[in-house]
């Protein structure tokens, strides 16, 4: 195996086919791409938001419904100045052994705060956005949750967005 193919090899192969075989239609498959939005300023001047499907949420907020058979189509705001100790994870569908020791491996809030403090980006939106990745109704996901978060991101004056689909 070459170094290049090693880099392209995912640790759990065949994920899309495996899930789609078990839950037909639950996996997104697109035939087209969307036009690129162009950033008209340097990254150092751009306000960054972070969107995660890791089920991270502030302690004390309504836990995501992780056992609902078709998923939870709500999202939570996570203050971008929060500390990892302010947050907890409600999610069943990915291993959290790393995140339980250092939340930054899936929700890198301290790294993002440092990037803004160091001036690599122009700042952070007041909130980051979090939901759970286990949503089996793709049409509903795209029609509701995706649009709701996109609207919230715009309202929070984001100019660039980093996403981590857990």
């Amino acid at each position: 195996m070459t170094a290049g193919s090693e880099r392209r090899r995912q640790l759990r192969p065949g994920l899309w086919e495996t899930v789609n075989e078990r839950y037909p239609g639950a996996m997104i498959s697109k035939t087209d791409t969307v036009p690129l939005a162009r950033l008209d300023k340097p990254l150092a001047d751009a306000r960054l938001t972070f969107i995660s499907s890791a089920g991270v949420q502030p302690k004390g907020t309504l836990p995501f419904d992780v056992v609902h058979p078709v998923g939870d189509y709500t999202f939570r705001r996570v203050p971008s100045d929060a500390s990892p100790s302010d947050l907890e994870i409600h999610q069943l569908k990915y291993p959290t052994d790393g995140a339980n020791r250092d939340l930054n491996v899936i929700f890198p809030i301290e790294r993002l705060q440092a990037l803004a403090a160091d001036g690599l980006v122009g700042g952070l939106t007041s909130s980051f956005f979090s939901f759970i990745g286990y949503n089996m109704d793709v049409k509903r996901l795209e029609a509701t949750l995706a649009e709701d978060i996109a609207d919230a991101v715009v309202a929070d004056h984001a100019e660039i967005a980093l996403l981590a689909p857990a």
């Binding site: 759990r12 996996m27 036009p35 690129l36 990254l43 291993p95 790393g98 690599l120």
Partner: protein, 96 residues
């Protein structure tokens, strides 16, 4: 999700540990890391790697010219784990 945000005029980039899923979803820009699920930004306490992944991803916003781009970050999970173990040893979290 990412496509909906991009369509609002906000430049986006995502981190993927499932290249096949990303190929199906066709987000505007993605960075693939060959890491375990739930470990998109690497391993615990490896702040330098966590930061590098974010910086490389944000750089794609300035680099990518064609929508649907997937960039393979030149790193392996074994490398990340080895570096993480050394960091934990230095921090006294793991015996040398």
């Amino acid at each position: 999700m990412q496509r909906a945000v991009e369509q609002r005029g906000i430049a986006t980039v995502s981190i993927s540990v499932a290249r096949d899923v990303t190929e199906h979803c066709k987000p505007p820009r993605a960075v693939f890391v060959p890491f375990r699920m739930g470990h998109h930004f690497g391993v615990p306490f490896h702040a330098e790697l966590q930061r590098r992944i974010i910086v490389e991803a944000l750089g794609r916003i300035e680099e990518v010219e064609v929508s649907g781009d997937i960039y393979d970050l030149p790193i392996t999970w074994a490398q990340a784990r080895t570096e993480g173990r050394l960091i934990e040893q230095t921090m006294g979290l793991r015996p040398a």
